[in-house]
Amino acid sequence: MSKKVKAAIIGPGNIGTDLLMKAMRSEWIEPVWMVGVVPDSPGLARAAEAGLKTTAEGVDGMLPTMRADGVQICFDATSAYVHAENSRKVNEQGAVMIDLTPAAIGPFCVPPVNLAQAVDARAMNVNMVTCGGQATIPMVAAVSRVQPVTYAEIVATVSSKSAGPGTRKNIDEFTRTTASGIEKVGGAKSGKAIIVINPAEPPLIMRDTIHCLTAEDPDQAAITSSVHAMIAEVQKYVPGYILKNGPVFDGKRVSIYMEVEGLGDFLPKYAGNLDIMTAAGLRTAEMYAQEILAGNFVPTAA
């Protein structure tokens, strides 16, 4: 087995636990710490059982030993409110922060679109946009790499059960951060994001609609092939990323209808919105890890 880069997961909730299960299969990442704030949290107990060091003292509980423990990558699966503080602390200890919250203090990363640039930039904090962003920005980019997109809009519909309290408390953060990602990473001149929460039982699988308005008449063949190629890229880490319909062309409108089924590690399969986040976060970490192991990048405190 090749050498791995050691990592810490902050936030032992559903996302953190799903991420842990994925990370334990990684060829590049070895999760060694799980950080929480609630002593009797089942997530911390599960992590301890998996052999990780745990603390219920928040990031502060890990800081004194994280350098000695060799932690070079941290994932934040808590909330936007506490992220900046978490990030500052682990950066000071020389670890890269991969931000799964919508705090968006670092550059956005959507793996099939700009992972290489994000890693090349050696940023000590990268942000994974939002679940809706991970599911839709690749499609916006698939259109905008063919021809200019003046406006892109996405509608993410998620099951009620997969929308956690963090998302609900600050749903505006979702729409703002996703819209910004559609522009900055997706390449649309202007972006808009809509999220709909549906309580149907059994829970619906995450659905995403992507509408792009092209500046000139769309090159239908080129866009269709670009979309299929991009879907194949996403499927490398989210096999359940499926084109349901489209691209549909109507004047300058290009519409793409997607469904995202998760792997069902810790989170149920319908929660493709959460799965695509953890999978994208891990993929980003693996790319950093490869650079670190190759000696191309030494994460250091700024």
Partner: protein
């Protein structure tokens, strides 16, 4: 039914819900003309927003003839007595839109969520409640989908976030009077006495008036309607008809009935692109419990892909779609067309 002496506030929806059948193309000038006539008729409260609320301008819901800011600014400055409300659906609009609408001069903000998802309104209701004197309303859509007890939990949540008025909203025009009575009565018994209670009906099963009366009887004091029924599906509760019934029953609204009738006949009806009536598809909305603004989207997709709009609507109901899922309609139509051609 004895409602004599009850005082209620009617709230006209023509310039918000009425944007749906107009494909959001009502002009600023038309809005101002209509709003002034409503002011003249003594209608106390009118809603002015994109059909899908602040920030609704989109491919998914339709781009309007003017921005929310342009509509609100133009209407608010012309009002003498009538107050203006704006609608906001979290997930579509944000607190930035809310601030903009307050700056334009609204008196009332209505924050709308699906009936089971009140907690997504916390951010918006909490902020609205901090504005001195801003009438802050929580609005639970598709309220037929859950029972009175479950609905009460969600209404209380909105009350706790700072709403001084909460609404039971029959977005699909599905409810029958007993459904309304049960929900409103429990809410009235359990919410704080000072919290106002509203009902918003759609006329898809011709129950707009009957349901609104049932709501008043059970303790609601705000009733939504629209003159000539201009609204999604078969329209909202036709307000001039409701006002006439209120007059006969001794319910006090403060509105001049004949003036309201004239606005409906002389200004609203001529504005309609098609008659707002209970046609086959609108009836299907009510019958199958489907969000009323899906109507025109289903008609368009049916035409484009050679399908029955009724079949599309029935399937949308079966899948328990909720407000905002307009994008599902073309997707579903494509699936249905594929299945047919197979």
């Amino acid at each position: 039914m004895n409602l004599s002496g009850k005082k209620i506030t009617v709230h006209d929806m023509c310039l918000r819900d009425g944007m749906h059948p107009k494909r959001h193309q009502i002009t600023v000038e038309q809005m101002v003309t209509i709003a002034k006539a409503m002011d003249e008729a003594g209608i106390p409260l009118i809603e002015v927003t994109h059909g899908d609320g602040l920030g609704g301008a989109s491919v998914n819901y339709g781009f309007p003839a003017a921005s929310d800011e342009e509509y609100l600014t133009a209407v608010c400055r012309e009002m003498k007595n009538t107050r203006v409300s704006a609608l906001l659906l979290p997930g579509i609009g944000t607190v930035d839109h809310l601030k903009m609408a307050v700056d334009c001069g609204i008196s009332t903000i209505r924050v709308a969520t699906h009936c089971t998802e009140a907690d997504v309104s916390e951010q918006h209701l909490t902020m609205a409640a901090k504005y001195e004197g801003l009438d802050t309303v929580g609005f639970l859509m598709m309220a037929h989908m859950i029972g009175p007890e479950e609905l009460l939990v969600q209404l209380k949540m909105m009350e706790d976030f700072g709403a001084n008025c909460v609404y039971i909203t029959d977005s699909a025009g599905y409810m029958l009077p007993d459904d309304v009575s049960a929900r409103v009565a429990l809410a009235r018994a359990e919410l704080r006495p000072e919290t106002e209670l509203g009902f918003h009906g759609h006329h898809n099963m011709a129950m707009g008036i009957a349901n609104s009366l049932a709501a008043v009887e059970a303790g609601a004091n705000r009733i939504d309607g629209s003159l000539a029924g201009l609204g999604a599906g078969a329209g909202n509760t036709p307000l001039e008809v409701f006002l006439a019934v209120c007059n006969r029953m001794g319910v006090e609204t403060g509105v001049d009935l004949f003036k309201a009738m004239d606005v409906a006949e002389d200004l609203i009806v001529p504005l309609m692109d098609h008659p707002i009536r209970i046609d086959r598809d609108a009836l299907t909305l009510g019958y199958a419990g489907v969000y009323s603004s899906f109507l025109l989207f289903a008609k368009r997709s049916a035409e484009k892909y050679g399908l029955s709009s009724r079949d599309i609507l029935v399937e949308l109901g079966r899948r328990k779609t909720v407000g905002g899922q307009e994008d599902m309609i073309e997707d579903l139509a494509l699936d249905m067309a594929k299945a047919r051609d197979r």
